[in-house]
C-alpha cells in the first residue's frame, strides 16, 4: 500500500535541495541587501519560477538538461536532473524569506557592529545571521514542504522511474490513475502530515522567538 521507495526518494530530494539551496539562498539574499544597480532585474529573475507554469519551466529544463546538457552529460530522467529542477523551482521560496529577514535588520545595528570593530565576516556571523534566522528557518520549511509536493516540473524532467525519479507526488498520481485510491490516500495523508508538522514547527518556533527579536526596522 505504501510506496516507501517514492517516499524516501522525495525525502532524499527535499534534503539534498535544502542542503544545496540554503547556503546559496543566504549568499544571494545577503548580496541583494547591498546591491543597488540591477537589483530589481535580479529579483524578478529569481521570482520567475513562482509565476511560470511548471510545464513551461519543465520544458526548458528538459531541453537544457537533455542530450549532452549544459553539464556535458544527459541529466534528464535521473535523480541529478530532478535535483537541478528542484533547486531552480525553489529559488524564490528559499531566497525571498531570507532576503526580507536581512532587510528587516535595523541598519543602525550593523553600524554599531562596524564601530565596535567587527569585520564584515564577524558582522555576518555574529549579528546578521542570528537576527535573520527566522527568515532562514522559514525558507527551509517552505523549500522542504514545496519539494516534497512538487509535481509538474519533476514529472517533465524526470518522468516516473521507480527509485530514481518517481517521487511521492508522482506516485500518488500513478495510484489515482490505476484506481488505487487507498494507496493514494495513504501517501497523501503522509504528505499532509509532514507539511502540517513542518509548518506547525516553524510557526511554533516563531511564536516563542517573536519577543526576543526586536532589532528589526519599525
Amino acid at each position: 500500500m505504501f510506496d516507501l521507495e517514492a517516499l524516501f526518494l522525495s525525502l532524499k530530494l527535499a534534503i539534498w535541495t535544502l542542503v544545496l539551496i540554503l547556503p546559496f539562498g543566504i549568499w544571494v539574499a545577503h548580496s541583494l541587501r547591498h546591491l543597488v544597480k540591477g537589483k530589481s532585474w535580479i529579483e524578478a529573475g529569481l521570482a520567475l519560477p513562482l509565476v511560470l507554469p511548471p510545464t513551461v519551466l519543465g520544458y526548458y529544463l528538459l531541453v537544457g538538461l537533455g542530450g549532452k546538457s549544459i553539464f556535458g552529460i544527459p541529466l534528464v530522467f535521473s535523480f541529478a536532473g530532478i535535483l537541478i529542477a528542484s533547486l531552480i523551482v525553489n529559488l524564490p521560496f528559499a531566497i525571498q524569506p531570507i532576503q526580507r529577514a536581512f532587510e528587516a535588520i535595523n541598519p543602525e545595528i550593523l553600524e554599531a557592529a562596524q564601530v565596535s570593530g567587527l569585520s564584515n565576516w564577524q558582522i555576518f556571523r555574529l549579528i546578521e545571521l542570528p537576527l535573520a534566522w527566522r527568515g532562514i528557518t522559514s525558507a527551509a520549511v517552505l523549500t522542504f514542504a514545496h519539494t516534497l509536493g512538487e509535481f509538474g516540473v519533476v514529472l517533465m524532467v524526470g518522468g516516473a522511474i521507480p527509485g530514481e525519479t518517481k517521487t511521492v507526488s508522482i506516485a500518488i498520481y500513478d495510484k489515482v490513475q490505476s484506481f488505487d485510491t487507498t494507496g493514494a490516500g495513504a501517501l497523501s495523508l503522509i504528505l499532509l502530515s509532514i507539511s502540517l508538522i513542518a509548518i506547525a514547527l516553524s510557526y511554533g518556533i516563531f511564536g516563542r522567538s517573536s519577543s526576543r527579536q526586536r532589532g528589526g526596522r519599525a
Binding site: E111, A112, S116, L118, Q122
Partner: protein, 374 residues
C-alpha cells in the same frame, strides 16, 4: 586632539571645522536636519566627506582633497571610536553582557578575560545585576547604560554621543549626566556630543559649535555663545529673545523704527552706516517705575509666572519692539507690574552685542584652509 575639517556639497551640505582636546566635551548643537549626526558619522568612519581631514593626535584617519580625491580613509574599526547611538542600537539577540563583550572580540583576550572586563564596565554603570538580560528586558535608561559600556569597553580614541539623552525620561537623564561627568575626567579622550537641547549643551559642554544647514556657524564656550553670538542666525538658534536690528556708525547704534541711539563699544571692525543685528543679555536690561534720561517707555503685554520666576513681555511705545524680561516674583511686585500698564526699560549700551545680519560662508576659503592643513 581630535581635529575635524570636512566639506561636502551632496547629499547634504557640510562645512565643519572643529577641534576637541582630550578630556574636553564638545557639543554640536543645531535644529533637526542641520547635519549634526552626519558630522558624527563622518568622524566615526561611517560616511565619507568629499574634502577634508580628520586626525586624532598624530594619526590621520581621513584625508581627501579636490585634486586627488580620498587619499586616506581608515575603517570604523581602525578609528576605534566609541559611538553611542540615539536609539541605543544594542544587538537585540545578545544579552547586556554579550553586547558589551562584542567590541573586545578582536582584542586577543580569552572569553573569560573579555567577560571580566565587560562585567567591570556594567558594574561601573551600576547595572551588573542585569548582565544576563536581553535588551528588550531593560528600560530605556538601562539600555543606554549598556550602550555606553559597549562604547567604552575597548578604550576608544574618542567618544561620540548622538543625542544620547533624547529618548529617556528626565530623572534617568540626570543619572546619565552624572555618569558622563565622572567619565570625562577618568577617560581623558575627546568627547563629541550631538544634541538639539541647548540647556543640555550648556550644562555639559566645555565648548559648543552651532550648526545650521550643515555649516558650523560658531564655536565658543557656552557663556560666550549666549552673550556674544557671531551673527543673527546664531542668536536665533541659541534662543536669544531680545534680538533687534539697527544701524551702526562709529560707536553709535541707532535702533530701527526708533529715535533711540545707544553708545556702544566700537572695535573698529564694522564700517560706518552698516545695518546690524544686536542682542542684549538679561543683565543688560533693567526696569524702572519712573522715566529717566536713558529709559524707553514700554507697555506690559503679557506676564507668565512659573513658580518664583516670571517672564514679562513688553512692547515699546516707540518702534513697537518686543522685549522679553525675566524676573523674580518679588521684583515683579516691587515694580508693581501689571498687564496693560506702562513701565520704563533701561538698556545698558555697554552690554549690547552687535553682529552682522548674516555670515558669508565662502566654501572656496574653506577648501584652501583644508589644503593648507594637509
Amino acid at each position: 586632539m581630535l581635529k575635524i575639517k570636512i566639506l561636502q556639497a551632496t547629499p547634504n551640505p557640510l562645512q565643519i571645522d572643529i577641534e576637541c582636546a582630550p578630556g574636553e566635551l564638545h557639543a554640536l548643537v543645531g535644529p533637526s536636519g542641520s547635519g549634526k549626526t552626519s558630522v558624527l558619522r563622518t568622524i566615526a568612519g561611517l560616511s565619507q566627506p568629499h574634502i577634508g581631514k580628520i586626525a586624532c593626535g598624530e594619526h590621520v584617519w581621513f584625508e581627501a582633497n579636490e585634486l586627488e580625491g580620498v587619499t586616506k580613509s581608515l575603517s570604523p574599526a581602525e578609528r576605534s571610536c566609541g559611538f553611542l547611538f540615539q536609539q541605543y542600537a544594542l544587538f537585540p539577540h545578545l544579552t547586556a553582557l554579550e553586547n558589551v563583550c562584542i567590541p573586545l572580540q578582536n582584542s586577543g583576550m580569552n572569553v573569560a578575560k573579555r567577560k571580566e572586563i565587560a562585567i567591570g564596565w556594567l558594574n561601573r554603570m551600576g547595572i551588573d545585576e542585569l548582565a544576563n538580560r536581553l535588551p528588550h528586558q531593560l528600560s530605556g535608561g538601562q539600555q543606554q547604560r549598556v550602550a555606553l559600556a559597549r562604547a567604552l569597553v575597548k578604550k576608544p580614541n574618542a567618544l561620540l554621543l548622538d543625542e544620547p539623552f533624547s529618548a529617556i525620561d528626565v530623572p534617568t537623564r540626570q543619572g546619565l549626566y552624572q555618569i558622563l561627568a565622572e567619565l570625562r575626567g577618568d577617560l581623558n579622550i575627546p568627547i563629541i556630543l550631538v544634541t538639539h537641547d541647548l540647556r543640555e549643551a550648556d550644562l555639559l559642554a566645555d565648548r559648543i559649535t552651532v550648526i545650521d544647514q550643515g555649516i558650523g556657524l560658531q564655536t565658543a564656550e557656552p557663556h560666550v555663545l549666549f552673550q556674544k553670538p557671531r551673527n543673527s542666525r546664531v542668536a536665533e538658534l541659541v534662543g536669544i529673545g531680545n534680538k533687534f536690528e539697527g544701524v551702526f556708525s562709529s560707536g553709535k547704534l541707532s535702533w530701527n523704527d526708533s529715535n533711540h541711539v545707544f553708545e556702544v563699544v566700537d572695535k573698529g571692525k564694522i564700517p560706518p552706516k552698516t545695518p546690524v543685528a544686536w542682542v542684549i543679555p538679561a543683565d543688560g536690561l533693567s526696569l524702572h517705575p519712573y522715566a529717566t534720561a536713558n529709559t524707553i517707555e514700554a507697555k506690559v503685554e503679557h506676564i507668565s509666572t512659573l513658580g518664583q520666576i516670571a517672564v514679562v513681555q513688553l512692547r515699546t511705545l516707540e518702534g513697537k519692539h518686543a522685549i522679553s524680561w525675566e524676573a523674580s516674583a518679588a521684583e515683579l511686585r516691587r515694580l508693581g507690574l501689571e498687564l496693560g500698564k506702562n513701565t520704563y526699560v533701561e538698556i545698558d549700551g555697554a552690554k549690547i552685542h552687535i553682529m552682522p545680519l548674516r555670515t558669508i560662508n565662502d566654501p572656496r576659503r574653506f577648501v584652501d584652509s583644508v589644503s593648507k592643513a594637509s
